[in-house]
Amino acid sequence: MRAQDLIVVAAKCSVITAFRNTIGLAGRLSTRLQPNHPTDDSRGIAASLLDGLLFGVGDAVIGVNPATDGVQDYVRIVTLLDNVRERLDVPTQTCCLGHVTTAIQAINLGAPVDLVFQSIAGSEKANRGFGISLSVLTEAHDAALSLGRGTLGRNVMYLETGQGSALSAEAHFGIDQQTMEARAYAVARRFKPLLINTVVGFIGPEYLYDGKEITRAGLEDHFCGKLLGVPMGCDVCYTNHAQADQDDMDALLTLLSAAGVTFVIAVPGADDVMLNYQSLAFHDILYVRQTLGRRCAPEFEDWLKRMGLADADGRLLEKAASGAIGSAIALIETMEA
């Protein structure tokens, strides 16, 4: 199949999920706000979070990749995200992308966990390499559901995949990486995720050598995910040891938007200062909304209007009202690190 085949088929698929808002409606493109910080500093995370909200980013999820994998930090991060979300009354969901077993511990400690995250792969052996099994995922899914935090829906999982994960763990059994990737979506489907994305350029040139291969893989992954009925998004990204740059990201973002991608990921200025790779900038989201007319989730769009951040058509205003955001800045400045 050519790129346009992957786009035309995927664009016909509809996958709708819900937690505190509705993801995947026609003409919509949601975004994950990824306010990572190299040492998980609470104020640093909150500062990037606020920066993203001002760009209208974050309706898919506000999700932090923690720098460490301890349960203490996990609990601190989800509590922080939940506090900011509640303070600003944002109709979205939050997530700390720690290991699923850490999430289970945090839930048992009473932490405010909206979505449980896990990286998954397309073979039992590769999943063992991630320290997971279907039964551990089931346990986590049940634990998250037991909290009953979703107001509009019960999709409580956030999953990540990417071509090459099985191969890099030598758990691919001689099968090509694209087939192994599609198998991961079959794992995902079982847990009715709110969101799933391929981290397409993250794994590096060992698996996807340059911008052209990253672009092709992004379209393949989105196509396969949609055919298998999962709410497929993409981290449009690359690492510094791959032959790619921001022009490749612009192209893939544009192609995926035409294909009806469920969501993409954005970080301040396209530079993830914790994971050390480049994703999309908040600005890039404005670009695709303006150029292709894709809107965010309706509940989130209503919030942007209420906050004085968007006009009646949902377009971001040149000058945001400062009221509630001003109080959020004050909140951050009084936070502990």
């Binding site: 601190r76 509590t79 390499g129 040139p205 200062v273 670009y287 303006q290 800045i329």
Partner: protein, 265 residues
Amino acid sequence: MMPDDSPSECDQLVVTDNLTRLRRFTPARIALGRAGSGQLTATGLQFMLDHARARDAVHAALDFEAIGQSLRERDWSVVHVQSAAGDRAEYLRRPDLGRRLSSSGRLAIDGQLHGNDVAIVAADGLSALAVETNLLPVLDHLRPLLLAHSLTIGSLVLVEQGRVAIGDEIGQLLGAKLVVVLIGERPGLSAADSLGAYITWRPRGGAMDSTRNCISNIRPAGLPPEDAATQIVGVIELAFKHAKTGVQLNDLRGTEAILLGGPRG
């Protein structure tokens, strides 16, 4: 230039925001402002420069002679080996080769003293700068701490074109109970000098990544080398106590941490 194209007119196209005072809390590129939906020209140019620098860092070669010399001056016994990847281009394309020793490397390791508690491996990985900047400071703090725990350390193995998993083969050949791999992490735009430490109990070929513990972002402006050494020894202590590393050890660590301190904030 049009007569009315004055700087003040241009400034009106630029949307600034009031988040600049939050910049002190994060190295992230926040409060950039925008021009329409786009970034300002200066922002875009700075990004391209930073990207070019990060690309250079990936391809910079580590001066193994100089590092080896400095280590010997500090009374380390040093073995310098190569992975099966012949050069940087092959290293980037063939991760499997970066995880295996070259045949000469294997011979060199075979000649070393066998059966120490801890094997320490230092590899260039994706950042020569990280190793140049942070290896010696980490080791200067790490060695006394390990010796204080009565743990024996063998020769330090320097690996050219190495990946994390090469420590499994090296640790196994050395008959070590545990291996610490100190390796240059993939350069980011804002930090090209991050060292990572990967700790694996009972190293052997084919070990899963879920059986390792990782301490990341070791650099002066991130996790300082002295603190990193303390954290590495903390993990090693637990690893020897429970005879495991990785996700299973994290489960135990999580429980102990909560019992000791309770969650912050």
